[in-house]
């Protein structure tokens, strides 16, 4: 199952040229661009691992692309996303967030039902991948940095 999250989730995966343009847009707005990765695909997982510090002082997208390439080379079988943080007053939040890398195989999610009193049923999802320990979730995934 192809995971979709954040911006552009309705589009095919972005090419490097498209990512460059998006990153350049964020930098032109004065937003800090960060790269993060994870192997836990749950939609409510907000604790992704940071790949280095957010980049506050870049003018050109090439610097971010170098970090993106390094992160994808180090974690080819994990999810990688790009964030753009707007520090201006009134926003102070992430303005852009999109996936730029995904594992070759994405097992998807299991729907769990919990029966309560009086025929009440609570639903939740659990990703099949997260059932295995970090390092064994997606094929040749690297062990460090879960």
């Amino acid at each position: 199952m192809r995971l979709t999250q954040g911006q552009f989730s309705f589009l095919p995966d972005l090419t490097d040229g498209e990512i460059t343009k998006q990153v350049q847009y964020a930098l032109d707005q004065g937003w800090a661009v960060a790269v993060e990765f994870t192997n836990d695909p749950h939609p409510r997982n907000s604790y992704w691992t940071m790949w280095g510090n957010p980049m506050f002082d870049l003018r050109d997208a090439k610097g971010v692309m170098m970090e993106i390439d390094a992160c994808r080379a180090a974690h080819p079988d994990q999810y990688v996303k790009v964030l753009a943080f707007d520090s201006s007053h009134g926003f102070e939040t992430v303005r852009m967030s999109y996936l730029i890398n995904r594992p070759a195989e994405e097992p998807g999610f299991e729907l769990l039902r919990a029966e309560g009193p009086g025929r009440r049923i609570g639903y939740t999802v659990r990703s099949y991948a997260a059932g295995r320990p970090p390092g064994e979730r997606y094929g040749r995934e690297t062990r460090h940095g879960t």
Binding site: L58, R59, A61, K62
Partner: protein
């Protein structure tokens, strides 16, 4: 494509009369470098050999672009440069203008200059240098990286110096990211020569060596005039003569740093002018007094008493 192939084929050359006419002048105008070169002539005093070299480089880049526009295959030209000259001869100023020029011609994407020295590139312990250098390179991407006093990167007296690591990363990026980054090294002539002799890899990757001559006395006076005007001051006619005297005396003294010394002299003259006005605050002063630097503001300099 076949047309350009024909151009290169001597037998076909009479078949294809030069059908594609290229308006070099239009290219020149739309790049906006005419204005930049004129501005350089107007605002930078002296430096004739430097201006000539920059004109030559600009012409080369313009023709290169015209060649590329008709599909003639050309390796992207190597644009890394080395500016040598004594302190205060305008290396940083010219580097900033160079960035504007390269940007106008479309060889770099932004017209920013990231100016660094050894401290910004070289770390203090093992494993500190590479991230530090890469951080700087990331910041400079798309523009110009200006390394002042580049010879400090290489310390021959200490074979375990981390500078060598920074140089190697720099060389790698200068080769791999030619489209993204232009590196300009700057420093004293003799020490840069030693640096290049011990780093042949660096020497061979630098295409343009530009040498900055020292200023003549009359050029320095012209600079003083321009600097004063830039700060919205005016040198009184007598003050200008005093300045000419000052320059002649200062030039033979140790630690003379060309235009930088003149800037410092002007700053001190402003200080003395302010002091003079403050001392005489009981009488009203006009706008002319506020913007005029008088003869005594300069004559009271230490240079005249020594």
């Amino acid at each position: 494509m076949s047309e350009t192939a024909d151009l290169l084929d001597p037998e076909a050359s009479d078949r294809t009369s030069d059908r594609q006419l290229i308006d070099l002048d239009a290219l020149y105008r739309e790049s906006g470098i005419g204005g930049m070169l004129a501005g350089m002539d107007r605002e930078l005093v002296g430096l004739v050999p430097v201006k000539t070299r920059i004109r030559e480089i600009a012409a080369l880049l313009l023709v290169e672009r015209a060649r590329r526009s008709i599909g003639l295959r050309a390796e992207p030209p190597s644009l890394h440069m080395c500016f040598t000259g004594n302190p205060g001869t305008g290396k940083t100023t010219v580097a900033r203008r160079m960035a504007g020029l390269l940007h106008g011609l479309g060889y770099i994407r932004r017209d920013h200059v990231v100016s660094v020295t050894r401290d910004d590139l070289v770390g203090q312990y093992i494993g500190h240098t590479a991230p530090k250098t890469k951080e700087v390179l990331k910041r400079a991407m798309g523009g110009v990286l200006f390394i002042d006093e580049a010879y400090y990167l290489y310390r021959p007296e200490n074979e375990r110096d981390y500078g060598q690591e920074a140089i190697e990363i720099l060389l790698q990026v200068m080769e791999d990211n030619r489209d993204d980054l232009v590196v300009i090294l700057a420093g004293y002539r003799d020490r840069m020569e030693v640096f290049f002799r011990s780093n042949p890899g660096m020497a061979s990757r630098i295409a343009h060596h530009v040498d900055f001559p020292d200023y003549e006395a009359d050029e320095l006076l012209e600079i003083a005039r321009l600097l004063a005007a830039g700060m919205q001051y005016r040198l009184a006619p007598e003050a200008e003569r005093a300045m000419a005297d000052y320059i002649l005396r200062r030039m033979v003294q140790p630690r003379f740093a060309n235009a930088r010394s003149i800037r410092n002299a002007l700053d001190r003259a402003r200080l003395r002018q302010a002091n003079r006005l403050f001392e005489a605050r009981s009488s009203a002063i006009g706008a002319t007094d506020l913007l005029t630097i008088a003869e005594e503001d300069i004559r009271r300099s230490r240079v005249f008493t020594q």
